[in-house]
């Protein structure tokens, strides 16, 4: 139990996917202009990460390993994740327009997100068991959401600042992201991850 808790904490804070592993930077910079969208994106990522790690775990242990084709891991995972997300998007769009509005529109953005693939690959690398994989994916998603929302909050605030011309827009976003990442370094060593 404690092990699982540590995995979760590690994934959320210490080895935060965005701020420590630098995965998923693209949506991190792109969809963080408003806290609401950032939150929606975060939710979608949590969902996809969890589902993807479940499916890829089965793919790995039920197909790839028995057939001895682990070297196809990356391509197989991408294939599975991409189609899975597409599928989920379509289902949500049809069955629950409300959910689609808040979550579904982010899904296509995640299909090829490196953070999702990263979770799947790390699960295997760290040879987590099934439960650990799920918890790790959940933590990674939570960490992603946390970073997203914090960053969106900061960006909403810096929107009001008289920023020097040369630093406006993405430049300042990158500086801010750097400082946020710096702050997250404080968690280093908190849990060996």
């Amino acid at each position: 139990m404690f092990e699982l808790f540590l995995i979760l904490i590690s994934a959320v804070f210490v080895n935060n996917f965005v701020l420590a592993r630098f995965l998923g930077i693209c949506p991190f910079l792109g969809v963080s202009k408003k806290v609401e969208t950032a939150l929606g994106m975060g939710m979608a990522v949590i969902f996809v990460m969890t589902v993807a790690s479940v499916v890829t775990w089965f793919i790995q242990y039920l197909i790839l390993i028995p057939f001895g084709i682990e070297y196809l891991q990356t391509i197989a995972f991408i294939l599975v994740i991409a189609s899975l997300v597409q599928l989920v998007e379509m289902v949500i769009q049809k069955t629950s327009p409300v959910l689609y509005q808040s979550l579904g529109i982010f899904l296509p953005l995640i299909t090829t997100n490196c953070a999702v693939l990263g979770v799947a690959v790390l699960n295997i690398q760290k040879s987590y068991n099934f439960l650990e994989s799920v918890v790790f994916a959940l933590g990674a998603g939570l960490g992603f959401t946390l970073a997203m929302v914090l960053f969106a909050g900061l960006r909403e605030r810096t929107d009001l600042c008289p920023v020097p011309k040369s630093f406006q827009g993405t430049a300042l976003a990158l500086v801010t992201a750097g400082l946020l990442s710096l702050a997250f370094m404080g968690f280093a060593g908190l849990v060996k991850g």
């Binding site: 920023v163 702050a183 370094m185």
Partner: protein
């Protein structure tokens, strides 16, 4: 005003560490002022030196550096603080992070060796040369890592910590002098009680819980309170208005977050000291705290009840 409140602490650090401390203080302060002046000039904005904010950042930064910090490091830190910490966001009032802390963390990560080389206090007139020593927190961390037990210093010697007779950053050394400055700020109503009380309170409570769980492994809350940059952080860094929440409720949450993260990093993290990181992290959370702690608008209560 805040600068006056920091003077006792500066004086104490100069007393203990002598000329090196003085030079760190001067370089940081002048460096920040110069950086600010250059920025204003380059961007063609109005000179903002008169508000004293750059000088304050410099002093705060100096108090966060070890007395043995080489001059180039102090200067580098000063420029980081003003350029990256403040001016890229448009200057005073807009920086989301505390500039002095940004600089400290950058230095800590870039130059870990210089940043963690501590000299033992050698009060002026004692005739001692500088001796390298460890900070109480650093020593504790090493000891716990090696032996799983607290070293002796974590259970005694509190009066030394109070007056500053220990190794550490300029501003870590004298809790008493900082306390005086902090109380002065409170008295002058420059800061409110919310952040300091909730920050220090959280450290005492969380630290205390761990201490009660295992007094041989975890230090007492008093040790937490008096060592490291806690007092400095509580009164001078966390209360920086620009980078902390604006509402009373927000400040309480802010203080709680700072305290919690500080204790966690101190006890379990890779760094012996967590105050800087804790405050920076909570700085990052400030916009969100502000967002979710908006005060209830007059006349809004009934309306919600009705609808």
């Amino acid at each position: 005003m805040v600068i006056y409140a920091l003077l006792p602490a500066c004086a104490v650090s100069i007393y203990f560490f002598g000329v090196p401390a003085l030079s760190v203080l001067l370089i940081c302060t002048l460096g920040c002022v110069a950086a600010e002046a250059i920025c204003c000039k380059v961007m063609g904005r109005k000179m903002t030196l008169a508000d004293g904010s750059a000088a304050l950042t410099g002093i705060l930064l100096a108090l966060n550096l070890p007395p043995s910090a080489p001059w180039w490091m102090s200067l580098f830190g000063a420029f980081i603080a003003i350029l990256i910490g403040k001016q890229v966001y448009g200057g005073l009032g807009y920086n989301p992070f505390n500039p002095a802390l940004v600089a400290r963390v950058v230095l800590l990560i870039s130059f870990p060796v210089q940043m963690t080389t501590w000299t033992a206090p050698a009060p002026i007139g004692s005739g001692l040369d500088a001796v390298t020593t460890a900070t109480p927190l650093g020593e504790m961390k090493t000891a716990v890592m090696l032996t799983g037990k607290l070293p002796e210093l974590a259970t005694s010697g509190f009066s030394n910590y109070l007056t500053g007779n220990m190794g550490g950053c300029l501003g870590e050394v004298s809790a008493l002098a900082l306390l005086i400055g902090g109380l002065y700020l409170l008295y002058k109503k420059i800061i409110t009680w919310h952040t300091p009380v909730s920050f220090a309170g959280t450290v005492i409570i969380i630290g205390g819980i761990f201490w009660l769980i295992d007094p041989t492994k975890y230090p007492s809350p008093l040790f937490h309170l008096l060592t490291g940059g806690l007092i400095l952080g509580v009164f001078f860094m966390a209360t920086d208005m620009v980078s902390s929440p604006v509402t009373d409720k927000g400040m309480l949450i802010f203080g709680f977050g700072c305290g919690l993260i500080t204790v966690l990093i101190r006890l379990f993290g890779g760094y012996p000291e967590g105050v800087s990181f804790a405050i920076l992290l909570m700085n990052a959370a400030t916009p969100l705290i502000d967002r979710y702690t908006r005060p209830k608008i007059f006349g809004q209560i009934e309306q919600e009840a009705k609808s």
